[in-house]
C-alpha cells in the first residue's frame, strides 16, 4: 500500500492513544466527557480511513456508529445524567494523576513489547502497529476503570477500552463480523448507560456513585 | 508305669501346695513373733482357723449377689491351679506344659479380678477403697512381672518354668540382668501378698488396709477359702522364686524315688529359708503410705525393664 496511507493510519491510531492519555489526565467530569467525545471522533476517523484504504464498505458502519453514538449521543446522555442526578463534578481518583500517567506509559511500553514480539514478519506492518496501539488503548481504558472512583468515569474507561477493541478489529484486515461485533458492543454500552442508570438505579438510589452501589457487597458484616 | 507315675506326681504336687501353704503362713507368723520377742501362735494355728471358719455358717449381707458367693471358690480355684503349675520339688510333671509363666501370672490376675469385684459387691466404701487400691498396685505389679518373665525367658530361652529351672540348674552364671530380675521379683512378691511395707496382713486399720478391706464382708467358709487362697499365693511366690533362682535339687522327669525325696526335702528347706528372709525384711521395715507404693512398684518395673534391656544389648555382642 502507499506510504502516506500507512502514515495517516499510524497517526490516527497514535492519536487514539494520546486521547486515552488525555482521558487519564482529566479531573473534571464534563471535561472528561468532552475528551471522550474526541476519543470517539478519532476512532471514527481511523475506522473510516481503514475502510477507505482496505476499501471495505462495511467498515463505514462502525465508523458511523462511533461517530453518532459514542461521539455525540452518549456524551450528551451522560452529561444529562450527571446534571440530573446531581453527581459532584470532580473525579475522585485512587492514584494521583502523575503516577497514573507513568503507569500508562509503562502500559504502552508493555503492549509495544508484547505485540511487536508476538507478531512476526508474517503480518503486515500496519496491522502490527495498529494492534500494538489498540492493546495500549485497551490497557489504558482498563487502567482508567481501576484508578477512578466514579461510575461515570468507569463507564468512560470501559468505552475507551472498547474503542481500542474496535480499532483492533478494523485494523485486522478483512476480519468478518466486525460490524456485528461493534453493534453488539454498542448495545452493551447503551445497556450500561440507559438501562442501568436511568431505568434501574434511579429507582433506588440518588447517586450512581459506585461506592453507594456496592455498599452491600454480598454479606454485610 | 509312666502313665501311672506322672499323674500321681502331679497330684502329689497339687495337694502338697495345698497342705503346705497354711504351714508356711503359720511358720512366718511364728518366726515374726519370735523376732518381736513374742511367743506367737503355734505353727499349726492357721489350720485350726481354717477348720473353724469352714464349720461356721456364712453370713451374707442382704444385697450380696451370686457373684459374691461364687467369687471365693473361683479365687481359690484359680490360685490353686496357678500354684500347681509351679514346679516345687520336680520339673516336667505331666501337666506342667498346661501353662507357662505368663499363664500363671494371668491366672493370678483372674483371681485378683474376682477379688476386686467381690469387694465392690456389697456397696460399702471400704470395699471400694480396697478394690481400687488393689487394682492400682496390680497395674504396676503385672508389667513388672512380665518384664521379669522377659528377662528370664530371654536367658533361658523359654517361658516354660520346667525348662527354665532345668536350664538354670545346668548352666549357672551370675548375670546382672538376672540379679535385677530377682530383686524385682522379690518386690513384686511382697506387694502381691499384701505384706509389709505395702500392706499389713494383721491390721484392720481401715485407711491403711487393702486386701483386708476387700474381704471385709466375708465370713465362714467363704472367708476360709479366701484365707487359704492367700496362703497358697504366698507359697506360690516363694516357690516361684525358688524354682527360678535356686533351682537346685529339683528332680528331673523320670528320675528315681531318691531324687524325688531329695527334691521334697530341699523344697521344704527353701520354703523355710524364704519365709525366714521374708520375716526378716518385714520386721526391718515400716508400712509405707499408699501413694508411696506406686514408687515402690515402679522401682520393680524399672528393674525388670532394665534387666530386659541389658539382656537385649548384651545379647547382640
Amino acid at each position: 500500500m502507499s506510504g502516506h496511507a500507512y502514515d495517516v493510519a499510524h497517526m490516527l491510531a497514535g492519536g487514539l492513544v494520546l486521547a486515552s492519555f488525555m482521558l487519564l489526565y482529566q479531573d473534571r467530569m464534563f471535561a472528561l466527557l468532552n475528551v471522550f467525545a474526541l476519543h470517539a471522533l478519532v476512532l471514527s476517523c481511523s475506522v473510516a480511513w481503514q475502510a477507505y484504504i482496505q476499501d471495505a464498505r462495511h467498515l463505514y458502519v462502525p465508523a458511523l456508529i462511533a461517530l453518532t453514538l459514542k461521539a455525540i449521543i452518549i456524551p450528551v446522555a451522560l452529561r444529562r445524567v450527571v446534571i440530573k442526578l446531581g453527581i459532584h463534578r470532580t473525579i475522585e481518583t485512587v492514584v494521583g494523576v502523575g503516577p497514573t500517567m507513568l503507569a500508562g506509559i509503562g502500559l504502552v511500553g508493555l503492549s509495544m513489547v508484547v505485540m511487536l514480539k508476538a507478531t512476526g514478519a508474517s503480518i503486515d506492518p500496519l496491522s502490527r502497529e495498529d494492534l500494538a496501539f489498540a492493546l495500549s488503548v485497551v490497557l489504558l481504558g482498563l487502567l482508567m476503570m481501576v484508578v477512578r472512583r466514579n461510575a461515570v468515569s468507569q463507564i468512560v474507561g470501559f468505552m475507551a477500552m472498547e474503542n481500542g477493541l474496535i480499532l483492533a478489529a478494523t485494523g485486522a484486515k478483512g476480519m468478518p463480523l466486525v460490524v456485528e461485533i461493534s453493534i453488539a458492543f454498542s448495545v452493551l454500552v447503551a445497556f450500561i448507560v440507559i438501562g442501568v442508570f436511568l431505568f434501574r438505579i434511579r429507582e433506588r438510589f440518588d447517586s450512581v456513585d459506585v461506592q453507594a452501589l456496592d455498599s452491600f457487597r454480598g454479606e454485610r458484616r | 508305669m509312666e502313665l501311672v507315675v506322672a499323674p500321681f506326681l502331679q497330684g502329689v504336687q497339687m495337694f502338697a501346695v495345698l497342705a503346705l501353704a497354711p504351714l508356711l503362713l503359720g511358720y512366718t507368723r511364728k518366726v515374726k513373733a519370735r523376732a518381736l520377742r513374742r511367743a506367737g501362735p503355734p505353727v499349726l494355728q492357721p489350720y485350726r482357723d481354717l477348720l473353724k471358719l469352714i464349720r461356721k455358717e456364712a453370713v451374707l449381707a442382704h444385697n450380696a449377689s451370686w457373684l459374691f458367693r461364687t467369687a471365693p471358690y473361683m479365687i481359690f480355684a484359680t490360685t490353686w491351679v496357678a500354684a500347681a503349675l509351679v514346679p516345687t520339688f520336680a520339673t516336667g510333671l505331666s501337666f506342667s506344659w498346661v501353662g507357662d509363666l505368663i499363664a500363671i501370672i494371668a491366672l493370678l490376675g483372674s483371681a485378683r479380678f474376682f477379688l476386686a469385684l467381690a469387694g465392690m459387691d456389697i456397696g460399702t466404701s471400704f470395699g471400694g477403697i480396697g478394690s481400687s487400691r488393689e487394682m492400682l498396685f496390680a497395674s504396676l505389679a503385672e508389667p513388672a512381672m512380665i518384664m521379669i518373665v522377659f528377662t528370664v525367658a530371654l536367658v533361658a530361652g523359654s517361658t516354660q518354668l520346667s525348662s527354665v529351672a532345668a536350664f538354670m540348674q545346668d548352666n549357672v552364671g551370675l548375670r546382672v540382668s538376672l540379679g535385677l530380675a530377682a530383686a524385682a521379683l522379690v518386690l513384686v512378691a511382697i506387694a502381691e501378698n499384701a505384706r509389709i511395707p505395702v500392706d499389713n496382713p494383721a491390721t484392720h486399720l481401715e485407711l491403711t488396709m487393702v486386701h483386708e478391706a476387700m474381704v471385709l464382708e466375708y465370713s465362714g467358709r467363704h472367708l476360709a477359702m479366701l484365707e487359704l487362697a492367700a496362703a497358697v499365693k504366698l507359697l506360690l511366690y516363694v516357690s516361684l522364686i525358688a524354682c527360678i533362682f535356686v533351682p537346685w535339687g529339683l528332680a528331673p522327669p523320670g528320675s528315681g524315688p531318691t531324687a524325688y525325696a531329695t527334691g521334697v526335702t530341699l523344697y521344704i528347706g527353701k520354703l523355710l529359708a524364704g519365709g525366714f528372709l521374708l520375716v526378716l525384711f518385714e520386721t526391718s521395715t515400716a508400712k509405707m503410705r499408699v501413694f508411696r507404693v506406686p514408687q515402690f512398684l515402679g522401682a520393680a518395673l524399672m528393674l525388670g525393664l532394665l534387666g530386659t534391656l541389658l539382656l537385649f544389648v548384651s545379647r547382640s555382642f
Binding site: 507478531t119 485486522a172 463480523l177 | -
Partner: protein
C-alpha cells in the same frame, strides 16, 4: 414427539436454536402465568429432544454452525438441565408470584429471557465461528444480568451491576483475544470468513504464529475465565447466584459456566496443536488450583446458603479446569465426567435450596435448622446433594475426583496433595453447614411448601447411577472426546 417435528424438515441443529428463539418471542407477548410456564417447559423439552437427535446424526459443518463430539456433550447437557430447570422454575415462580416478590409484568420478561438464554447458550455451543460464539456468549451474559437483577432489591441490583461490569470487561478481553486469533490465522487461511471458522482453524493450526496465539490465549483465558468463575476473576459469581431467582442460579452454575469453559477448551485445543507455543496447561492448572483452595476457604464464613453453594461451584469449576489443564486421556475423561456430574448435582442442590428458602422464608444459614425433620423430602434431598457435591460415594463426583486425584498423584504429587487438601477443607466447610442446616431441632417456619420434587430427584438419581455404573456407550463417547482434547 420429535419425529413429526423432524418431518417438518427441521435440522436438529437449527431446531435447537429456532425453538428457543421463537418461544422467547412468544413468551414475551404472552400474558398469564399458567400458560407461559407450561410453554416454557414444553419448549425446553422439545429443544432437549432435538439435542438428543444430534447424538445420532451429525450435520456437515456449515460456515456458522457445526456439531462434533465435543460440543454435543455440552449441548445435550445444557438442554437437559435447561429442561429440568424449567420444570423446577414452574413451581418456584408460582410461589414467587403468590408471595408477591414478582409481578406479572416481570414474569413475562423472565420467561422470555429464560428462552433467550437457552438460545444464546446453544448458539455459543454450536457456533462454528469464533466471532459468532463471542456474540452468543455476550448475549447470554446480558440476559443473565437482566434476570439476576429481576427482584430489584438493593442487593439484587448491586449483584447485577457487579456481574455486568466484570462480565463486560471479561467480554472485552475475550474479544481482543478473538481478534488476535484471527490475526494469527489470517496469513495461513487468508482473509475473511475462513480465518474464524473452527473447523478450518483446527485443521491448519500448526501453521499459526505461536507467539501471537500465546498472547491471544491469555486474553481468552482471562476473558472467558471470568465467566467460568475462576479465582481471582470470580467476584461476580457468588452474588449473582445468591441474589437472582434460584432457577437462574441453577442455570448459571449448571450451564453458563460450562459454556464459558467450552470456549476456553476450544482455544486450548487450538494452542495445544502447536509444539512451539507456550503450553496452555500450566496456566489452567494454576488458575484451577487457586480457585479450588480459595473457594474451599471461602466456604467457611458464608452466611447465605445460596452464596455458599455458589462458592462451591467456583471450587468445582476449578477442579474441572485443573483436570483439563493436566490433560491426558484419563484426566480429560475425569474432567468431562466431573463437569457433567457437577452440573447435575449443583442444579439439583439449587432446586432443593430454592424450595427450602421459600419454605423457611430466608436464605440465611443461621435461620435454617433441622430440615430433615421439618421438611423431610427436601431435607434429605439436600443432604444427598451435599454429600454428592462433597465428593462422597456412591455418587458420581466421587468417581471423577478419584480419577483426577489418583491420576495426578502419579504424575505431579505436589499438585495432587494441594488439590486433596483443598477438597478436604471444602468438605469440612460443607459438612459443617450441613450438620447445622439439615439436623438438629428445627427452628423458624415449618409449614410444608408445595414443591416439585421430580427435577431434584431425577438429577440425584442420575448422579447416583453414574456413581456406580457408567453405560459403555457413554464411556466410549467420553473417551473419544477425551482423545479429541488431547
Amino acid at each position: 414427539m420429535s419425529a413429526p417435528l423432524q418431518a417438518l424438515g427441521l435440522e436438529p441443529v437449527t431446531a435447537i436454536l429456532l425453538v428457543p428463539c421463537l418461544s422467547a418471542l412468544l413468551l414475551a407477548v404472552l400474558p398469564g402465568y399458567w400458560f407461559a410456564a407450561r410453554l416454557n417447559v414444553a419448549a425446553s423439552l422439545v429443544t432437549f429432544l432435538f439435542a438428543l437427535q444430534l447424538l445420532g446424526q451429525r450435520p456437515a459443518p456449515g460456515g456458522y454452525l457445526f456439531v462434533d463430539d465435543l460440543n454435543v456433550v455440552f449441548v445435550v447437557l445444557a438442554t437437559f438441565v435447561g429442561f429440568t430447570t424449567s420444570a423446577f422454575s414452574a413451581s418456584y415462580i408460582a410461589y414467587e408470584l403468590e408471595s408477591g416478590r414478582l409481578t406479572q409484568r416481570y414474569l413475562r420478561f423472565y420467561h422470555a429471557m429464560y428462552q433467550t438464554l437457552m438460545f444464546a447458550m446453544n448458539l455459543a455451543l454450536v457456533a462454528n465461528n469464533i466471532g459468532l460464539m463471542w456474540v452468543a456468549i455476550e448475549l447470554a451474559t446480558l440476559t443473565t444480568v437482566a434476570m439476576v437483577g429481576i427482584y430489584r432489591t438493593h442487593e439484587a441490583l448491586e449483584a447485577a451491576w457487579k456481574y455486568f461490569i466484570l462480565g463486560s470487561v471479561g467480554i472485552a478481553l475475550a474479544l481482543f483475544g478473538t481478534i488476535l486469533v484471527y490475526m494469527a490465522a489470517r496469513p495461513v487461511l487468508g482473509e475473511g470468513q475462513d480465518a474464524m471458522v473452527w473447523t478450518a482453524l483446527s485443521e491448519k493450526a500448526a501453521g499459526f504464529s505461536p507467539e501471537l496465539l500465546n498472547v491471544a490465549f491469555i486474553f481468552l483465558m482471562l476473558g472467558y475465565g471470568t465467566k467460568v468463575g475462576l479465582a481471582p476473576l470470580h467476584a461476580w459469581l457468588p452474588d449473582a447466584h445468591a441474589e437472582g431467582p434460584t432457577p437462574i442460579s441453577a442455570v448459571l452454575s449448571g450451564l453458563l459456566l460450562n459454556v464459558a469453559l467450552y470456549a476456553v477448551l476450544r482455544f486450548k485445543m487450538l494452542l495445544a496443536t502447536i509444539p512451539t507455543a507456550i503450553p496452555p496447561g500450566p496456566l489452567m492448572v494454576t488458575m484451577g488450583l487457586t480457585s479450588v483452595v480459595f473457594a474451599a476457604f471461602m466456604l467457611f464464613r458464608r452466611r447465605d446458603i445460596k452464596r455458599m453453594f455458589a462458592y462451591s461451584s467456583i471450587e468445582h469449576m476449578g477442579i474441572v479446569t485443573f483436570a483439563f489443564g493436566m490433560g491426558g486421556a484419563l484426566a480429560n475423561f475425569a474432567g468431562l465426567l466431573h463437569m457433567t456430574m457437577h452440573s447435575l448435582t449443583k442444579s439439583a442442590i439449587f432446586f432443593a435450596v430454592g424450595h427450602i428458602a421459600q419454605a423457611k422464608g430466608t436464605q440465611r444459614l443461621g435461620q435454617i435448622r433441622g430440615l430433615t425433620e421439618s421438611h423431610p423430602v427436601l431435607g434429605w434431598g439436600l443432604v444427598l446433594g451435599v454429600i454428592a457435591i462433597a465428593g462422597l460415594p456412591p455418587l458420581g463426583i466421587f468417581m471423577s475426583e478419584f480419577l483426577i486425584v489418583s491420576s495426578t498423584f502419579a504424575r505431579a504429587p505436589l499438585l495432587a496433595i494441594i488439590l486433596v487438601l483443598g477438597l478436604l477443607v471444602a468438605l469440612g466447610a460443607l459438612m459443617l453447614r450441613l450438620n447445622e442446616v439439615a439436623f438438629g431441632i428445627p427452628i423458624g417456619q415449618t409449614a410444608p411448601v408445595q414443591a416439585s420434587y421430580a427435577p431434584l430427584y431425577t438429577h440425584l438419581a442420575l448422579v447416583l447411577t453414574a456413581g456406580v455404573y457408567l453405560p459403555p456407550p457413554l464411556v466410549a463417547w467420553f473417551q473419544s472426546v477425551a482423545q479429541l482434547l488431547g
